[in-house]
Symmetry: C2
Subunit: 386 residues, 2 copies
Amino acid sequence: MSPFVPGPAIRVEGRSGGPLSGLTFAAKDLFDVAGYPTGGGNPDWARQNPIPERHAWAVQTLLNAGATLVGKTITDEVSLGILGENAFDGTPENPAAPGHVPGGSSSGSASAVAAGLCDTALGTDTGGSVRVPASFCGLYGIRPTHGRLDLTGMMPQAPSSDTTGWFARDAGTFARVSDVLLSEAIGPALPTKLVIATDAFGFAEPSTAAALQPLLGKLTRLVPDHREDLLAPPGLTAWARAQRTLQPVEAWDTFKAWVERDNPRFAFSVARGLVMAAMTPEAERGWAAMVRQEARGRMRWLLPSGTVLAMPSTPFPAPKAGLPVPALTPIRDAILGLCAVGGLAGHPQVNIPGALAEGRPVGLSLIAARGADALLVRTALALEDA
Amino acid sequence: MSPFVPGPAIRVEGRSGGPLSGLTFAAKDLFDVAGYPTGGGNPDWARQNPIPERHAWAVQTLLNAGATLVGKTITDEVSLGILGENAFDGTPENPAAPGHVPGGSSSGSASAVAAGLCDTALGTDTGGSVRVPASFCGLYGIRPTHGRLDLTGMMPQAPSSDTTGWFARDAGTFARVSDVLLSEAIGPALPTKLVIATDAFGFAEPSTAAALQPLLGKLTRLVPDHREDLLAPPGLTAWARAQRTLQPVEAWDTFKAWVERDNPRFAFSVARGLVMAAMTPEAERGWAAMVRQEARGRMRWLLPSGTVLAMPSTPFPAPKAGLPVPALTPIRDAILGLCAVGGLAGHPQVNIPGALAEGRPVGLSLIAARGADALLVRTALALEDA
């Protein structure tokens, strides 16, 4: 399945002479591209919105920097999905693990970069939608600090967790694009301290945790001052449950008016998620908000300036494509067990590729203090050279 | 919007020399037609089922009697709908009330007959799916005694309420088709007693109740021994709530394995109905089963042999097409207030056309004892002549 959305070919030339001249990029179909409908992975979403007249901020920024847009990519329906299987548009191939899902919801963006159809691609990450496909497709990928980038022209889902991210095959391209989108030169400083999240490694499947050891070894040689600690003392499960409460409730707030007015078509599982979100008890929302506040405090304490935390990006490599729906629930839950921290706390997180478990890619995640996105990109560059 | 499902034209000639020779018919896309997929109004239903090799019993019976099949008609998704708006296939026109819904779920069958595209058409009625479109499109329509017809090759929804029904524009054609499908000659005897359901007339909008008075007048001249009585002493609301509990729960039992395996696409409102059905508390199911038992007793008492009951088929004529979803809930609830009796008690019910409220058709319903379907058809013939 092509990673690009059906329809006419799209090409918008980048400005000549910019820092990204010569690079090509694709944009997840959640980003506005002037003159084309923003589909959002759902056949009824585009109908209610006018065709955008302006590019999204991230698209315009890449074009201004010289990169050329070569297509819009498939996404899970209204970005509600983590595996990359869209019942309407199909499942983009995972070039690094044929027959397996690409990961989602930025499925087409990861697939297109992994297949070499473009050099970089824009995605979004609310609950793992850049980190998971980066891990499954063997790519560099970033979820930047929440609130750092201008999200104008990006279709929202759960605004308190939504971010714009991007993918690349090599650290050099990843750093060039990051420099532009972060509006910050990637400086030379490396982390001074490293925390290895033992609960997160313990939560991953043993074969995945083992596969990441060589990368972790390179990292500890790069950052010798390291220690083991818990990411989530109340349990990764508690953090995941909080995020699984907060994010759908916020998504329902985002989509409710549209859903109630237009009665759009959804895959059953997506509709069910929205129905359950609408019925979430107030007490559960309140509990989840408390857990989030506590998680934010924990992350501030764990990650002072200069410190990075390492953990597996996903608990396993890409599952098979086309699994029956009942088999997907525990898979999604397990992925959220490791990804919830991103949406809950809003820290920047980068996926480092380079490991294989059972022959398929899995990535190592690095997390830093809010605003320290560039430190993570620098670490990715240094690890590639190490 | 054409009432026929998209795809190749379908025509199967009827056997020559039969009692229905010269008539054409269409079949709701819930009935198997050998060599064509049974779509069920949902794009993912046909995928899981092989193309049928045999015609459904009702289709074969009409062909054997000489009628020629000229098409398969649009239905609400998996017959879960009462207005006739299908998010995938569109909304068939209501030729009798342009710009208004045809009623569902046998929407295309009613639309095709009303437009003169065929002489009769097969529908199904679980919770009102023949009676409502017959009322809205100004047609004769029957929901036969539950359990009387062979439902082989008809896609089930809630088996304890499912029936095969049919439509016609004139009482003569209606009687010819009924003779064949009921396998019973329509005898000369008229009802000996008439009950006028005062609660049902009171529940209808005053303009609809008033519009039905001339038809009711003809009926009382035909059956002078008449009295007023309540259809549902515990309240039409209680009966409707019971049916709204039992039918979706049974539909979920019917579709659960498919939904959980294939994660099919649905309009949001259809998916929400299934999700809510799956969560119905056991106590609510038990209460509903008790109400059903009580309703059956009431109907046996009201309708001894030879008695018919008269009530409005729908509380109002066809609502506008394309109303926003929140506006549809009270409309559906009100329709169920009058239609619940069919699925709950399983008595035969015929819609008599001929009245207009606000310029749009509304029908008078006649209900008789179980098995007295032919008596209702005879009454329809006599009313047309009166």
